[in-house]
């Protein structure tokens, strides 16, 4: 399969992030091109999640530049990232447990709702039209991820694998250009992993969404990603296509350990 990628949509230059004396990220540079699936891998504590948090504006690096769509990004809040078309899922699921699947996914449309809550309380005219329009989009996502049967089920009652899928659904409902997935396959069995892989590939293919994902399962990473960044102790130790990275001695050392 020949895959074509567009321009660089986000370019991270010499990023360093510190929490007090702890260096989470040191001088990291890499970029993400449009339509690609970009994986970030590394052992525990390598700084992978911190990296995602830098991308969607939760953390502000002390050094380095972030060029997003050709413009240098200023310090900003996560909701601004969301309104710029960046959506994400979390390593520890962050859904509203007592709400139904449908309502949870609807929250993914929140930023796009124009009418105010008073208007919504009356549910008349524009608010009603808006709700119907958003619901339609949400139903498309539900069909896409094949979760029709749990539409009205409270999220807290679902097994872990399905909750992960609902979280992906909520992220997709925001119609993102850039989708950040933090360990989408953690804790899943083989079949659930396969399903998730297929959905990620389908999202990328169908909607052209650019995807940055963190994953521990090397098989998954090597199968679905176009390029891989390898972090270890907050430093970048490898970057390139999966096959190249897989055979890089430095990467093998980081994962399997070396005799120093």
């Amino acid at each position: 399969m020949a895959r074509e990628f567009g321009d660089v949509i986000i370019d991270l230059q010499n990023i360093s992030l510190r929490f007090g004396g702890v260096k989470a990220l040191t001088d990291i540079s890499f970029n993400v091109r449009e339509h690609e699936i970009r994986a970030i891998i590394g052992p525990n504590g390598a700084g992978k999640s911190s990296m995602l948090n830098v991308i969607n504006g939760v953390y502000h690096p002390q050094e380095g530049k972030i060029i997003f769509h050709g413009q240098e990004r200023q310090k900003m809040e996560p909701y601004e990232a969301a309104s710029q078309g960046i959506a994400r899922t979390f390593q520890n699921i962050a859904l509203f447990k007592g709400m139904t699947v449908l309502d949870n996914i609807m929250t993914g449309r929140n930023l796009m709702m124009k009418t105010n809550f008073l208007h919504h309380a009356l549910f008349w005219g524009k608010a009603q039209r808006e709700e119907i329009e958003h619901r339609k989009k949400v139903e498309e996502v539900i069909e896409f991820l094949e979760i029709q049967s749990i539409r009205k089920t409270p999220v807290g009652r679902l097994p872990y694998g399905l909750q992960k899928r609902v979280e992906l659904a909520r992220a997709l409902a925001a119609e993102p250009n850039l989708l950040l997935l933090d360990e989408p396959m953690a804790g899943m069995n083989v079949e659930e992993k396969q399903d998730m892989c297929r959905f990620i590939l389908d999202v990328n293919d169908q909607f052209g969404t650019t995807i940055v994902l963190i994953e521990h399962d090397m098989g998954v990473v090597m199968d679905i990603s176009d390029r891989v960044v390898v972090l270890d102790y907050g430093k970048k130790i490898g970057d390139g296509p999966p096959d190249e990275v897989k055979n890089d001695p430095k990467v093998i050392d980081a994962y399997l350990g070396t005799s120093h």
Partner: protein, 654 residues
């Protein structure tokens, strides 16, 4: 119905369809849930869409007599494809959508398929996988384009594009299709359904328009079906029952079929639609009841009390009230109250509030299960038939329901018994032939034109037919007494903890059995007992589970002991299998019937162990996962003895 039965020319399905489009153009013909909303297609819209598909197929070169493979879940567009194919005088060939690619190869080769209409990417992938083995295959038309943007194979075509081609064709030659429909005749083959193949390769059963229309008409008259019925179409389209209920009867009576959103949403869809006419195999009724019971056990004590009290009332008089028999005033009052508090809400939860007629068939239904549904006021009945008879031989008439019979011969059907007890049937609904198998056709139809069902049975004093077993499965123990494995297995399966059972005993000294536990029911039981387990294999081998199952088998033994013909068939030894019997491993047919011979070859070691007196046996089994990969399950199985009972009727009869 007067508008259909009055005219004699409505003798093919395309003519019936076009007639509905004229007579009731705005009545709903089909509904499908899409994006969470039920979308309705009227008869006029269905007819227009069928025309478009038919003309599109013709444009691709589909000719009279060609066969069209149809594979997928119950989707309106697949039902339209069946009708479209029939319009052109073609023969739709229905395949089970969950079959793996190799299984499809045989049918596609056997039926010499050039055209296939499939549901989605999953089925397209199967077609591409076996393309090399099916060189005749020229066109694969798919309904849902999702995930196939990068597919460039020239044999693929979207159904939307096909319909677009068809609409242009229809505009240019508007009398073409009407001419084709005009050429159709009642004894043309209208459909090919493959038998599930409990023995040998599947055979293509060719049924005519006339046969299915006769079966549909008989059934519709028998139960007074009108165009107001609603039915949920969720059973495999390749199964004769679905074709009769969702296609033939809907086409005949003009009622509405409803396609569920997906396989997992059937329960919700059932509740939303509230069908008036319903068909399900026993296991569906069983699953529904199990779910209700499990949820009931989690309810508060007050609700449980009310439930238990009114279920006793229903057990006492519910079925009698439904049958219109006389019941005491106080029971009537109690039942009325129960209906208000328990049965009504329960039926509503099950989606069965509006049901006028419900049928079950395909396997024996447990007497408790059957009585449960009837006692809460659902008119559940049994029918008997097979693919070769359009699933239409015997029906239970309203008000004359017996738990262990399948009812009386249906209208136009003649039933008689051969000397060995085999059931023979004759009527307009018999198959025309097995496709390209004159030998098999000759074997199954005797010289007087009776179809030999292969089932053994007898008529009771009221003329109701009772089925015992497959005639060829009925064997003998070494002491000469009768051994009917199915009969025993069905008794075992009536326990909620036993999902499947396979009994052995032909030419042996005594009877033994393999058991599959029901993971949901037994798992729930284990949870309440505080038993830890890691999965099916682990759970199945725990001694508490063996005790649980042994209790069930002892009850069956006690029951068998009371019947002089069956008392030698008591089960002496059993084991619980380490894996669930699965159609993917070839152990069950796609309709979930046990493939006895295959199982006894595959688990030969276990059978030897059962008869050699060992108390455990190691086994390693290859299994096939859903994605086609294979793996191994190994376990050491315990083998245990069961108490048997002295036949209270004495042994002199045996």
């Amino acid at each position: 119905m007067s508008d259909t039965s009055g005219q004699t020319s409505l003798d093919t399905f395309p003519r019936l369809l076009m007639n509905h489009a004229r007579v009731r153009p705005t009545r709903p013909a089909m509904r499908e849930k899409e994006y969470g909303i039920w979308q309705t297609y009227t008869w006029a819209e269905v007819a227009e869409n069928v025309r478009a598909i038919a003309c599109g197929l013709a444009e691709l070169g589909f000719k009279r007599g060609d066969r069209l493979a149809i594979i997928g879940d119950n989707r309106p567009r697949l039902y339209w494809s069946v009708a479209a194919c029939q319009c052109l005088g073609g023969i739709p060939v229905m395949l089970y959508q969950d079959a793996v690619a190799e299984e499809m190869t045989y049918v596609l080769q056997d039926a010499e398929i050039r055209f296939a209409v499939v549901e989605d990417q999953e089925q397209v992938d199967k077609m591409l996988e076996i393309q090399a083995d099916v060189p005749l295959l020229e066109h694969v038309i798919y309904d849902d384009p999702r995930g196939m943007r990068h597919y460039t194979q020239t044999l693929l075509l979207g159904l939307d594009e096909l319909q677009e081609m068809g609409r242009i064709h229809d505009r240019n030659q508007s009398d073409f299709l009407d001419g084709e429909i005009e050429k159709g005749a009642s004894d043309d083959i209208s459909i090919m359904l493959y038998t599930s193949g409990t023995t040998g390769k599947p055979k293509g059963v060719c049924q005519t328009h006339g046969a299915f229309i006769a079966a549909a008409k008989g059934g519709a008259q028998f139960d007074n079906l009108t165009d107001q019925e609603d039915i949920l179409s969720y059973l495999p389209m390749a199964w004769v029952g679905d074709h009769l209920f969702s296609f033939a009867q809907a086409m005949y009576a003009g009622f509405t079929i409803n396609c569920p959103e997906s396989g997992e949403t059937v329960m919700t869809d059932l509740r939303e639609i509230g069908p008036t006419y319903y068909f399900a195999p026993p296991r569906v009724f069983e699953n529904l009841l199990t779910t209700v019971m499990i949820r009931m056990e989690d309810a508060g004590w007050f609700k449980r009390k009310i439930f238990a009290h009114f279920m006793d009332v229903a057990k006492r008089c519910g079925a009698e009230i439904l049958d219109g028999k006389s019941v005491s005033g106080s029971d009537r009052l109690q039942y009325w109250l129960g209906n208000l508090l328990v049965y009504g809400p329960l039926k509503n939860v099950l989606g069965m509030s509006r049901i006028r007629v419900a049928y079950t068939a395909g396997a024996a239904i447990g007497p408790d299960l059957f009585r449960f549904y009837r006692s809460i006021g659902i008119n559940l009945k049994q029918l008997y038939g097979q693919t070769e008879t359009c699933a239409y031989v015997c029906l239970q008439p309203d008000g004359q329901i017996k738990l262990d019979s399948v009812g009386k011969p249906a209208p136009f059907v003649e039933v008689k018994l051969a000397d060995n007890g085999e059931i023979l049937v004759k009527g307009p609904m018999l198959l025309k032939a097995y496709y390209k198998r004159p030998d098999a056709t000759a074997e199954s139809l005797n010289e007087e034109g009776y179809f030999m069902t292969g089932d053994a049975g007898f008529f009771d004093e009221d003329g109701h037919l009772k089925i015992i077993d497959r005639a060829k499965d009925v064997g003998k123990l070494t002491d000469g007494s009768m051994f009917a494995p199915n009969y025993i297995e069905n008794k075992l399966k009536f326990f909620q903890h036993i999902k499947e059972a396979v009994a052995f005993g032909s030419d042996r000294d005594f009877v033994t059995a393999f058991i599959n536990i029901d993971l949901e029911a037994v798992g729930n039981w284990a949870e309440r007992k505080g038993l830890a387990y890691s999965g099916y294999t682990d759970l199945a081998q725990q001694s508490a589970i063996y005790d649980l199952i042994r209790g069930g088998i002892e009850q069956v033994n006690a029951d068998l002991a009371s019947d002089p013909m069956m008392s030698s068939s008591q089960i002496k030894r059993f084991l619980i299998l380490h894996k669930e019997l699965d159609a993917d491993d070839g152990e069950l047919t796609r309709t979930r019937k046990v493939r006895r011979k295959f199982i006894s070859e595959r688990y030969n070691v276990l059978i030897d162990a059962l008869y050699s007196g060992k108390d455990s046996q190691y086994i390693e089994t290859e299994v096939k996962y859903e994605d086609g990969r294979t793996g191994k399950i190994a376990a050491t199985l315990r083998i245990e003895n069961v108490k048997t009972f002295a036949g209270n009727a004495g042994k002199q009869a045996a």
